[in-house]
């Protein structure tokens, strides 16, 4: 209120001068977004043109306009529904299992009494986040191999036959979800632990006086107190629903599991970066961005309708 009053009579120039250090601090971030996020938006134009991939920036202007040709080609693609379905279902599964996992881990860690045990557990759970997908894919490939892989050695020890997990459509999506949850759960719990640390301890003390056990404290104090962060993270997760995990899938999939794993991003990679159809794949990328925007607006609207705070 005080700041508003003070600012109301001051010109923009005056505010810029007064808060010059703040604006200066913002500058690199703004420059970054202008250069790497906003200027490239201009490239979307090639989705409506037939641009030769190596003709450079000028071709973006001079190439013939083809309207929605590339979008129609994609929608008529034999695998359109398969790719869209895979993208949504893999993302959906990751959301279903991957979203609650860090919340549960944070809640469990919050209940741990021993500070040392808590720290060690936290540190160990963060570690997979720092491994690149190349390393994780290598680990999973070796662990799950039918030739000397740990899991199949256990299967054999119990009298079973080795299973080629990574080549079997029955198991492939589960492996994607498991590896994703394993890699991201610990790191994702940080924000929830931060939210938990901000809860006023007096609320718990009052609840104990009222006879609430740990379970009831969690249901009536902890969860409501962190619900804002959960909703916020959920909206972000919805916005990323079409990001099904390009690198992870590209490194782990093979022809026998294309049917359950080929997603928009891997399709764009094959057709665009390898097949050199830049206009076509830009159209697909634009379609994906529009879908993501619709999803995030819907999620934000729903959150507000439920009486929670949205992201805008």
């Amino acid at each position: 209120m005080y700041i508003k009053k003070r600012q109301s009579g001051v010109s923009l120039k005056g505010r810029l001068v007064h808060y010059k250090m703040h604006y200066l601090l913002m500058l690199p971030g703004i420059v970054f977004f202008i250069i790497f996020r906003y200027i490239p938006i201009y490239g979307i134009i090639i989705a409506f043109k037939d641009v030769m991939p190596f003709d450079g920036l000028r071709a973006m202007l001079t190439a013939p306009f083809v309207g929605f040709k590339h979008f129609i080609t994609f929608f008529n693609s034999y695998y359109f529904w398969n790719i869209l379905g895979n993208t949504l279902s893999i993302s959906g599964l990751k959301l279903l299992f991957g979203f609650p996992a860090p919340i549960i881990l944070a809640l469990l860690l919050n209940e741990v009494r021993s500070a040392r045990f808590k720290k060690v557990t936290q540190t160990i759970s963060y570690l997979p986040h720092f491994l690149s997908w190349v390393v994780v894919a290598g680990l999973f490939t070796v662990i799950l191999s039918t030739s000397g892989g740990m899991i199949n050695e256990i299967v054999k020890a119990f009298g079973g036959n080795p299973i080629y997990f990574l080549g079997d459509p029955k198991y492939f999506r589960s492996l994607l979800v498991i590896s994703e949850v394993w890699k991201s759960m610990g790191w994702g719990s940080i924000i929830y632990l931060a939210a938990l640390s901000g809860i006023n301890p007096e609320l718990y003390e009052a609840a104990i006086v009222d006879g609430a056990g740990r379970w009831k404290q969690m249901i009536h104090i902890t969860l409501p107190a962190m619900s804002y962060v959960v909703i916020l993270m959920f909206i972000f997760a919805i916005g990323n629903l079409l990001q099904a995990g390009f690198e992870q899938i590209l490194l782990l999939y093979s022809p026998s599991v294309y049917g359950v794993s080929d997603i928009i991003d891997t399709y764009v990679y094959r057709e665009g970066l390898i097949g050199l159809k830049y206009s076509y794949t830009t159209a697909i990328g634009l379609f994906k961005s529009i879908m993501a925007m619709i999803l995030i607006i819907s999620a934000n609207y729903s959150a507000k309708r439920m009486g929670k705070e949205g992201i805008w």
Partner: protein, 512 residues
């Protein structure tokens, strides 16, 4: 007051810290202030991609660069891409118009996209050695490098070859008292023996492996069909894909049978080069059906583990329908000059200089005479003794890996990998009578990929369907009783357009 000053200093420091990388990133692209004639070589094939070392010894690299500069007046700079991102890196360099002059590429893919520089004038003016060295009997390679108007877009590296083979552990055959198989029935009996008698021990024997559906098909499919593993011409003169040939199902049935019995390694299709190498080197693989170097390159490490280990190529093995192998048609991959090259004349001069004689060619590819190699016989056919140099050279400056020179020399080496590769190269690679030829052999390299892409914009979908479903049939994920449905699916995906487009190209090239 002090606190205010400290805050300001901190803010400025943070801004500088965040801004400096931008400034330096801008400057990272080397300033072209020097007058030096520079040629950039993108080393995406040959030595740098086969070497275990990521780069040459810096001193040797500098010496090679200096030698080329002294001989040609051209400063050659090299970019070695990561082995698993070669295509991505090349495409990004081309699209961003980065410094790039010479690279290896498939002219059928890159020419229609406008990435290549036309070479006719450059070859006439600066490329006489190159023209002279490529033998007349491989003249079809030049046609494969050209568009219908006669423009040449690449310098050929390889003619048609016999590169695929099943390699078998001959020491295991001896240990088990088995003869070298001459047909697929005997081969199956050997696989069974490998599986049951487990020569690797601990149940770790992999009777047969491969790395891709293409390697498997090129190594076995022709043995089950009266055609090769490739396009065929039906009675109406239409170009058809191999999957719709009536006998192709017999091949799949046999592979599915081997897979189900545990003869064909479960992870074969889609096995990475590294993983395949590991399995071979760990003494687990009994037979491997691959492009020959994928096997031979592992011999050195395998012999370190098992000195008595030997792999033998089964080049004369036959199936129910005769020869089992499919020849590789004339290569459309070539050495190209980028359309945006700043210095195409010097790029051509550099390639041409490297082919002035065998000594120059061999040195720029393999290192310095006397340090990295020496002559045992210094006239054609040359015999080379490779030397064990402390300071390695991996061939970054290699301007052109030309088969015309490859066949001029043989190496004396104690390195088991090089030994087996050289033996296969000398004895079998040029012998096209060992394999079968696809129905459009010699014609397919002349197809216009631009016309085909325009007529079949979703060819990628059809290719995925072919690869995915055939893999599933072999792995038993999809029953073979559904093969008819698979053919129907191919037509639903646009196979008729594919047939029409390829037939039109076939007729255009053959003048029918």
């Amino acid at each position: 007051m002090n606190s205010q000053i400290m805050k300001r200093i901190s803010a400025i420091f943070i801004v500088l810290l965040l801004t400096v990388p931008f400034v330096f990133a801008q400057g990272a692209s080397e300033a072209k202030t020097e007058e030096q004639r520079v040629v950039w070589r993108f080393a995406n094939t040959g030595g740098p991609q086969a070497a275990t070392e990521p780069s040459s010894d810096p001193e040797v690299y500098q010496m090679m660069q200096d030698w080329i500069l002294e001989e040609t007046g051209i400063l050659v700079k090299t970019i070695v891409p990561p082995k698993d991102q070669i295509t991505e890196k090349l495409n990004l360099l081309l699209a961003s118009k980065s410094d790039l002059d010479i690279f290896d590429a498939n002219v059928k893919v890159y020419q229609p996209k406008g990435a290549l520089y036309p070479l006719n004038d450059l070859l006439d003016e600066y490329g006489q050695n190159i023209l002279k060295q490529w033998p007349d009997q491989w003249e079809s390679s030049w046609r494969a490098m050209s568009t219908a108007d006669g423009t040449i877009w690449g310098i050929p590296s390889l003619p048609a070859l016999f590169p695929y083979s099943v390699f078998i552990r001959s020491d295991w055959l001896k240990d088990l008292g088995l003869d070298e198989p001459t047909n697929l029935n005997e081969f199956e009996a050997v696989l069974k023996a490998f599986k049951e008698q487990d020569p690797a021990g601990n149940g770790e024997t992999i009777p047969l492996t491969t790395m891709s559906l293409a390697y498997l098909g090129n190594s076995f499919a022709a043995g089950f069909m009266d055609i090769a593993y490739g396009n065929w011409i039906d009675e109406n003169g239409q170009v058809m894909p191999v999957e719709v040939h009536p006998q192709f199902k017999d091949y799949i049935a046999k592979m599915a049978d081997w897979y189900a019995k545990g003869y064909l390694y479960e992870e074969s299709i889609g096995l990475s080069r590294d993983r395949h190498g590991e399995l071979v080197q760990q003494n687990k693989v009994g037979a491997s059906a691959v492009w020959y170097t994928r096997l031979t390159q592992n011999m050195t490490n395998l012999k370190l583990n098992i000195p008595e280990a030997e792999f033998t190529p089964l080049v004369n093995m036959t199936g129910p329908e005769g020869k089992i192998y499919t020849n590789r048609d004339v290569f459309t991959s070539a050495v190209c000059i980028a359309k945006n090259s700043q210095n195409p004349e010097d790029a051509m001069r550099f390639i041409n200089w490297s082919q002035q004689d065998f000594n120059t060619y061999y040195s720029v590819n393999n290192g310095f005479e006397g340090t990295h190699w020496e002559y045992v016989k210094d006239s054609e056919p040359f015999i080379i003794q490779k030397l064990e140099a402390d300071k390695k050279y991996i061939g970054e400056f290699q301007p052109h890996l030309s088969f015309a020179f490859t066949v001029k020399a043989s190496s004396i080496t104690e390195d088991p990998s090089a030994l087996l590769a050289t033996e296969f190269l000398q004895k079998y690679i040029p012998q096209l009578d060992l394999g079968k030829k696809a129905g459009d052999f010699g014609v397919a390299p002349l197809y216009s990929s631009e016309s085909i892409q325009a007529a079949v914009p979703n060819e990628g979908d059809i290719n995925r369907l072919r690869e995915e479903e055939v893999t599933k049939f072999i792995m038993g994920i999809r029953p073979l009783s559904e093969y008819g449905d698979f053919i129907d699916d191919m037509y639903d995906a646009g196979l008729q357009k594919w047939i029409d487009a390829y037939t039109a190209e076939y007729n255009r090239v053959t003048g029918k």
